[in-house]
Symmetry: C2
Subunit: 505 residues, 2 copies
């Protein structure tokens, strides 16, 4: 009997207390030494944003039996509500418009934005994977607008945007393809903990089915085994106030977040708690284009990225003057905007463009309707509404128009490829204030998406992709690179998992 | 029998794989359901720097049976080779010299240096504890120099320094006191992993005795139980190149470290791997006062903190001009120095003072002997040696002397309380280049030094103090505040542990 006890013990040695308990419970009713699973798959994917859907679809297309679990009542995660902007180095539209771009050029832009913190080995995988990932989305029915956009921090226009202007334009077709190809997809299914074998390999998950977010004890527990491994695509923790404030106490509850309520990061935390390396976890990005006049991502964020920033200017209401490069990377702009505070109180800057600048701004109409964007016939009226010194503002607009004509932003060195003179009323304006948007940090992975321990060794049977991982983006992620990261590394994780030696379950 | 098996299982459910194996092995030879320990203590302290020694001594003085383990062949850890500078808010010497100071004033200095990332609840404990901790060291035989010093980032002179000018001036007397009062002290004893009970409480350690750093499989394994808990005082990870580069890839092997070779951070990593919260782990400080002409902490670091920076000036060799406030906080100075690079290659600035300025510099003589500090009869000779434009340098010295006379550094706003005119040859100069010095980040704790999980709950039986913890210092620790943090939180951890409900072993 002693021998049997020891063999059973060996099956219990891994994971947190809960995982081990689950395995123990299973073991009591199963064959000696092996936990009993309610069902066994080749690959289990946790999370259904860009990374999770790309991983599940890729693994399924390679012949794996795949389970995808999503804790919320809808698929798509936070990806579904993002702006749908995808940075592609070398797209057909760039070629058509004569824009010279390459993975190497995109790499240099991302390294610059990362401020010395970027893991270049991961970035290389991303930039080289953007075009194949873009083609992959086309094959699965994603549709993009027929023009390429210029986002802050990128040295050339390289943003492809879904026709819907949201990430849902990608997650919906990918989820449809997953379903069509036979991925087992569970909504309201929350990963509770890992199940590991005696060598530490991840061989399954304890999952709370019929979970009702955010009731932690709702639903019923099931255990699922995995021969090839678990791919974690659980996103960021912008909505986990305690953990976010541990990393950056200044990101307190006075700061809103653009993220959906489910962005609470438990998947990442579970990986840390079984020895996954934390990497740059306090690098948390604020989006510089959001509005203090609405909640969450809202209408203004998209207005500013497609119109306000590339086609307009942003001014300090106290001076009527620009105060930063409106196309600098997100961190530079956010730091500049937060720098406007007076005695810890926000001073909201105003961003505006003219009637030509708003041609592509799909959220303009609703923005006007819900009074988060305003329309003015003259610069004076705009100045008056926001209490900006009118003469100063008019002088700024005149200087701007001259600089655009000369092709040289002498004030802040902004790239002017898409810039326009502001001279065709009416003018459209909004107030701007940053919101917590993206977690650059996360769990450490290698270039094959294998999760690394604190000692730098891969954890067998565990892969991660997208926002839950750390290192690629360093101190500041460029716009359009979340979709790039998620889709590219989701597919890499699937390739690595499918090629793994199967666990003996 | 089933019931017995289950009880035995319950004792195995916690900790990493190794810990569980150890517990399992123990359990097989012990009474049902409890691991067998080679010895049981009230409190076990891991690490013998400022925090570890203060914790062990404090716990012993309160009557606890204490084991202190140190993986290296000598006590003192990295603390023994630090500069021995202790920031005390409200010391007798400050009172004597009429320097107005308070814990609140020190708090504001530390918050400023932390750049918004500081955990103020932890800082408050530190600043309020400095005077009691200072008195504690006096009671145990520590001796300080009879003058107070002014370090960068502090708004007033508040640094007390050991007569030995090293932290060994504190660690040696504290270790002696520990021994005298009966702390069980083991050298070459490396913590391998935690042993936890079914509820996750830390109830012991697996320890590698007769360990020979850095041979990971040397020595023999022992298990020690603890009724009140384990206090982790294992310091930073400046010498763990892989983990340090995961956090900040720019800190590669071209950058030296001031730390001893044992500063590899395994204790912190083990805490992460059982669910301890990682906090601001990528906030890693470079010391701005070290020399490219010698290895490790060296002689120049102390020369610059006591003489070069407070009594002299630092110039760019290409221009002969100052380029930063020599008493700014460490991050500001480091960033300024690293900003001198040309195409990624260092351009070493030169720091110098005159014969009055070096009066208190104990490392001057050896610095001259080992040619890491040089002596010059004139400013011209100094300029010639370092290839600095002589006329520019003379003009800078003249401007400096005028500003000191006027009591106002118009160039960089430096506090001039201790500054002197540079007019009494000979002059003493050294080259300066930053080295990796201190890890601000670490494991999350509360104000009672209880280690917090990623979900913000204390891990029962686990406490941490000093450099291994994260959050107090935010983005930049002020000089003299490592001793403050270590001594204050070491004592707090001991108080919390001693007051804990004992585990039933």
């Amino acid at each position: 009997m002693t021998q049997n006890i020891n063999r059973t013990r060996r099956s219990l040695l891994a994971g947190g207390t809960m995982a081990a308990l689950a395995a123990a419970t299973g073991a009591a009713h199963a064959k000696e030494g092996a936990p009993a699973f309610d069902k066994i798959y080749d690959v289990i994917v946790v999370g259904s944003g860009f990374a999770g859907l790309a991983a599940a679809l890729q693994a399924r297309l390679k012949g794996a039996e795949v389970l995808l679990i999503e804790k919320m009542p809808v698929f798509g995660g936070n990806s579904a509500i993002n702006g749908g902007a995808f940075a592609v180095a070398g797209s057909p539209l760039q070629e058509k418009e004569g824009i010279k771009d390459s993975p190497e050029r995109m790499l240099q832009d991302m390294i610059r934005s990362g401020r010395g913190l970027s893991h270049v080995d991961l970035l290389k995988m991303i930039v080289e994977g953007t075009r194949p990932a873009f083609d992959f989305t086309l094959e699965h029915g994603v549709q993009y607008k027929p023009f390429v956009q210029h986002f802050g921090g990128h040295s050339v226009p390289r943003i492809m945007q879904t026709v819907e202007s949201t990430g849902g334009g990608i997650t919906r077709p990918l989820a449809d393809s997953c379903r069509k190809h036979g991925v087992d997809m569970h909504l309201n299914a929350k990963m509770e903990s890992f199940i590991r074998d005696a060598d530490g390999r991840v061989i399954g998950l304890k999952v709370r089915e019929r979970y009702q977010f955010p009731k932690e004890d709702s639903g019923v527990l099931q255990t699922y085994g995995t021969r090839k491994g678990v791919i974690m695509a659980t996103g960021g923790f912008s909505r986990n106030l305690w953990f976010r404030m541990q990393q950056d106490p200044s990101l307190d509850d006075r700061l809103d977040s653009t993220n959906h309520l489910g962005a609470t990061g438990e998947g990442m935390l579970e990986m840390f708690a079984i020895g996954g390396a934390p990497v740059q976890v306090d690098q948390i990005q604020l989006g510089p284009w959001s509005s203090p006049d609405e909640k969450g991502f809202g209408l203004v964020s998209q207005f500013n990225t497609i119109a306000g920033f590339p086609m307009g200017i942003m001014v300090d209401v106290r001076t009527g003057k620009r105060f930063c490069n409106e196309l600098a990377d997100r961190k530079a702009r956010t730091d500049a905007i937060l720098g406007l505070m007076e005695n810890g109180k926000p001073v909201y800057p105003v961003c505006f463009t003219d009637s030509k600048g708003v041609a592509k701004a799909q959220t303009l109409r609703n923005g006007l309707k819900y009074k988060v964007i305003w329309q003015f016939d003259t610069v004076e009226a705009l100045a008056d509404h926001f209490k900006i010194p009118a003469a100063e503002l008019k002088a700024q607009v005149a200087r701007w128009n001259e600089m655009v004509a000369a092709g040289n932003d002498k004030e802040f060195g902004r790239a002017l490829q898409l810039a326009i003179q502001l001279d065709k009323p009416p003018f459209y304006a909004c107030r701007v204030w940053p919101k917590v948007h993206y977690c650059m940090g996360g769990v450490g992975i290698d270039h094959q998406a294998r999760v690394l321990t604190v000692h730098g060794k891969p954890i067998e049977g565990l892969y991660a992709a997208g926002e839950v991982t750390g290192g690629a983006h360093g101190a500041s992620r460029l716009g359009g690179c979340a979709i790039a990261d998620g889709l590219v590394f989701g597919r890499i994780a699937a390739d690595t998992a499918v090629a793994a030696k199967p666990a003996a379950l």
